[in-house]
């Protein structure tokens, strides 16, 4: 489209501001994430963000787009950060880079760039490496001190193939809460406790609350997502008292990050309010289904990607009229 003349167009928000505010809301959760994962987690964030921005730059040049304006929207930085937050610490250096490449090149720019992608780019990148490197991505620390290596050692590990190559440290890794919950379902008397990741989740919840307060995201998606997930978890627990309970489903894994920062990505989510409610509920249901019956410990990425597929139909529901 041709550039337009707009008298004094200084609307309250620009895409750039929105992205920066979302990144700011991510900060508390990210800080706790780094505290829990040490230098390894920080390295993931830095590598993924830098790679995402580099690929964005390359694509801008290839597509003859104004670099300053396209890069200026900070969406690539946000994508990189989300990928970094999903990955376990001390993975092979190439894994965040591959994830960022798939996110920016395949999921975003192949479809025409920001605004035209049907799938959430960060989740496409993460899902691609999750199915490609299942063993690398299953090594999570059990305690903050578990991977308490120095910078030099961390760089050494990630540059030499990641923790997966250092089998003698296997003893330090363990299953995540959700992993335990999945494998132990049905074992009588076993009490599942949520690891320290509950603090990450609580921090993301706070960040999400700020986004809601600023009305940068609408309440429909997170509320319907969390409500559906809670309902499913409560029903499950009523049938089987040993199942992972409400608190596990809400405060373990990437639930809060998914509910407030990933599912609410406006580009790939449903646009109307009715559509948003159904979209959120669908993600909540899929998260519970995959966690309970699926082969992966966490399910946010797959749930979001599956519901992304339904968005065109959900958009078609609008305008929904409750009263004819």
């Amino acid at each position: 489209m041709e550039p337009v003349n707009k008298p004094f167009r200084t609307g309250p928000l620009t895409v750039n501001t929105i992205m920066l505010l979302v990144i700011a809301a991510l900060v508390p959760g990210t800080v706790i994430h780094i505290y829990l994962t040490g230098w390894g987690g920080l390295a993931n964030l830095l590598v993924a963000a830098a790679a995402a921005m580099l690929f964005e730059y390359i694509v801008c040049v290839l597509r003859n787009k104004p670099v300053r304006e396209t890069m200026g929207d900070h969406s690539a930085l946000l994508t990189g950060l989300l990928i970094g937050l999903c990955l376990p610490p001390l993975v092979n250096l190439w894994i965040p880079i591959i994830a960022a490449a798939i996110a920016i090149l395949l999921a975003k720019h192949i479809y025409g760039g920001l605004g035209n992608n049907i799938f959430n780019p960060a989740m496409v990148g993460y899902a691609a490496v999750l199915v490609s490197f299942p063993r690398d991505l299953s090594l999570w620390p059990t305690l903050p001190q578990s991977f308490d290596f120095g910078i030099i050692q961390t760089i050494n590990i990630i540059a030499n193939g990641g923790l997966v190559e250092y089998t003698h440290w296997d003893s330090l890794t363990g299953a995540t809460t959700l992993d335990t919950a999945r494998t132990s379902t049905g074992t009588a008397g076993q009490h599942i406790t949520i690891g320290l990741e509950r603090w990450t989740n609580i921090a993301f919840l706070c960040g999400g609350a700020v986004l809601l307060r600023l009305r940068l995201i609408n309440w429909h998606i997170p509320v319907s997502l969390l409500a559906t997930l809670s309902l499913c978890a409560l029903i499950e627990q009523a049938i089987n008292p040993n199942a992972a309970g409400l608190s596990v489903h809400l405060l373990a894994g990437a639930t809060m990050l998914g509910a407030f920062f990933i599912a609410t990505d406006p580009v790939s989510a449903a646009a109307g309010n009715t559509g948003r409610l159904i979209y959120g509920a669908g993600i909540g249901l899929l998260i519970w289904l995959i966690r309970t019956f699926g082969g992966y410990p966490d399910a946010v990425a797959f749930a979001v990607l599956l519901m992304n597929c339904t968005v065109p139909v959900l958009d078609y529901l609008e305008p929904w009229r409750w009263r004819k």
């Binding site: 337009v4 760039g113 920001l114």
Partner: protein, 504 residues
């Protein structure tokens, strides 16, 4: 309307307001060398002047048509230099001004208007070019006539300029409040209004004082001042009735059908000028912004002034122009841009901005006062999908421009919708034309068939009559035929002789 959306628009508005609020008195601009009046194609009009004719200021150029457009009057004395119709069907009348501005108005009516009936006043308004100056240019007489069936229960005077860039009504109220009140009194008489509400913004104490003082000096029966919150787009007629008169106007119902009528302040002042000075409507006050120099002026300008004339003096040339205000916008083509009764605000060479793809954030849906889904409308506008646009009720868009203001990607949504509506209108016209052509063709086909059937039937009847006649008459009945036959018989019996001369 969503409260947060209102807030976001309001904070934006307050920011712009602070920047623009400085008092801007009404100034008069020297006359331009030419005035151009363009008449849109397809409209009925009756031009009453000829080329090279000399006209006086206020002389009728185009006569009013009953139930149609109001008359158009010369903005200055001068000579009609051209009167032509271009390829698009626009008829242009151009006056070369002579600089004297010699006026010849009809006699002022003054207080005699009280003895005039509503119909007489409507006639007077219609033949003096009175149209609404709020932006829609609807003929004043037509509006009152629409009320005719019942007396107006409420006359609403719209002094709520909610678009922050438009300052002309504000300046008019501050400087000419008594004329406005006088006009309101006349308008109330013309509509037989039982109640008069003057709606003003609640954050303008100076205007309130000015209007109140004028009302005390020259009271209007059953009138009251109503302050409304200055939330955009409260000045939209339908919303203003809801907030000022507390009478909700349902969708698909025109306010006049409920006995509600509204006039802009500038229109009321024009009515007062007509009654008290006999002056027909040929000029208005327009807010002119020049973002390149930051200048804001309220100019008293004649209709038909080319916008190029307004740029003169500043060293830039006219590159682009936006009518209306900050939030509403309307981009006319540069070549033909002139001041019209609708131009309440003109922004010369507005700043250019870039535009990105829609990120579907939904802010536009939150601010839409008509509760539409602008982003869905945008998706279906390019490429145009008339069926989906109808499903999403594009026709309910009031073109307020709120969505443009909040869009983080800087997409000109309202303009896209205007274009889509135009395209749909064109399509409908084409379909109608095709339908008419089809009907015409079918009618022709029918007619041809009927004619050929008729002529065949006629032929058959004739033949039948002929055979009837030949059967009835015996072969020997006709003496001439007998003679002919006998002659032929004789000739065939005759031996053939060679009368040709032998070759030499």
């Amino acid at each position: 309307m969503n409260t947060r959306a209102t807030k976001s628009i309001r904070s934006y508005q307050a920011r712009v307001d602070r920047a623009l609020r400085p008092a801007t008195p009404i100034t008069t601009r020297e006359l331009p060398p030419t005035l151009q009046y363009r008449i849109a194609p397809g409209s009925r009009h009756n031009i009453v002047v000829n080329t090279d004719e000399h006209v006086h200021t206020g002389q009728t150029l185009v006569a009013a048509i009953a139930d149609g457009p109001a008359s158009i009057h010369a903005g200055s004395s001068g000579t009609i230099t051209c009167k032509q119709t271009d390829s698009e069907g626009h008829t242009t009348i151009e006056i070369a001004t002579d600089g004297y501005d010699s006026r010849r108005f009809k006699q002022a009516i003054g207080d005699k208007f009280r003895s005039m009936s509503s119909v007489q006043l409507q006639q007077l308004f219609h033949h003096n070019g009175l149209v609404g100056l709020g932006g829609a240019c609807f003929p004043v007489a037509g509006k009152i006539a629409a009320l005719e069936s019942k007396p107006a229960s409420v006359l609403l005077v719209n002094a709520v300029e909610c678009d922050p860039a438009i300052l002309c009504d504000r300046a008019l109220l501050l400087e000419q409040a008594s004329a406005a009140i006088r006009g309101i009194g006349i308008a109330a008489h013309a509509c037989n209004a039982q109640k008069v509400i003057i709606a003003i913004k609640n954050d303008e104490p100076a205007i309130h004082t000015a209007v109140q003082n004028a009302l005390e000096k020259n009271p209007v029966e059953n009138s009251s001042i109503c302050k409304v919150a200055a939330d955009y787009p409260v000045g939209y007629e339908r919303y203003l009735f809801a907030s000022a008169s507390e009478i909700p106007v349902p969708e698909n119902t025109h306010p006049t059908a409920l006995g509600l009528i509204s006039f802009n302040v500038a229109t009321c002042i024009a009515i007062a000028q007509l009654i008290d000075r006999g002056e027909p409507l040929f000029s208005r006050v327009t807010t002119v912004h020049k973002p390149t120099t930051g200048a804001i002026q309220n100019l008293h300008i004649r209709f038909g002034t080319p916008l190029n004339h307004l740029v003169q003096g500043s060293d830039t040339t006219l590159q682009s122009v936006a009518y209306s205000g900050l939030i509403t916008e309307n981009l006319p083509s540069r070549r033909t841009a002139t001041i019209s009764p609708a131009s309440n605000c003109v922004i010369l060479n507005p700043e250019a901005t870039t535009q990105n793809d829609c990120i579907r954030c939904g802010l536009c849906a939150d601010v839409c006062p008509a509760s539409l889904q602008p982003q869905q409308l945008l998706t279906h506008s390019e490429p145009l999908d008339a069926k989906q646009l109808a499903r999403h009720q594009l026709d309910r868009c009031i073109e307020c421009g709120c969505c443009d203001t909040v869009c983080p990607s800087g997409i000109p949504l309202t303009r896209t919708f205007q274009q889509a509506m135009q395209a749909i209108h064109q399509q409908t016209l084409q379909i109608q034309a095709a339908e008419r052509a089809k009907q015409r063709f079918a009618a022709r086909q029918n007619r041809l068939e009927r004619q050929s059937a008729e002529s065949q039937a006629k032929l058959a009847r004739k033949q039948a009559a002929l055979t009837q006649r030949t059967k009835q008459s015996t072969p020997s009945a006709d003496p001439r035929k007998q003679l002919l036959e006998s002659a032929l018989r004789r000739r065939s019996k005759k031996p053939k002789t060679d009368n040709t001369p032998p070759p030499p």
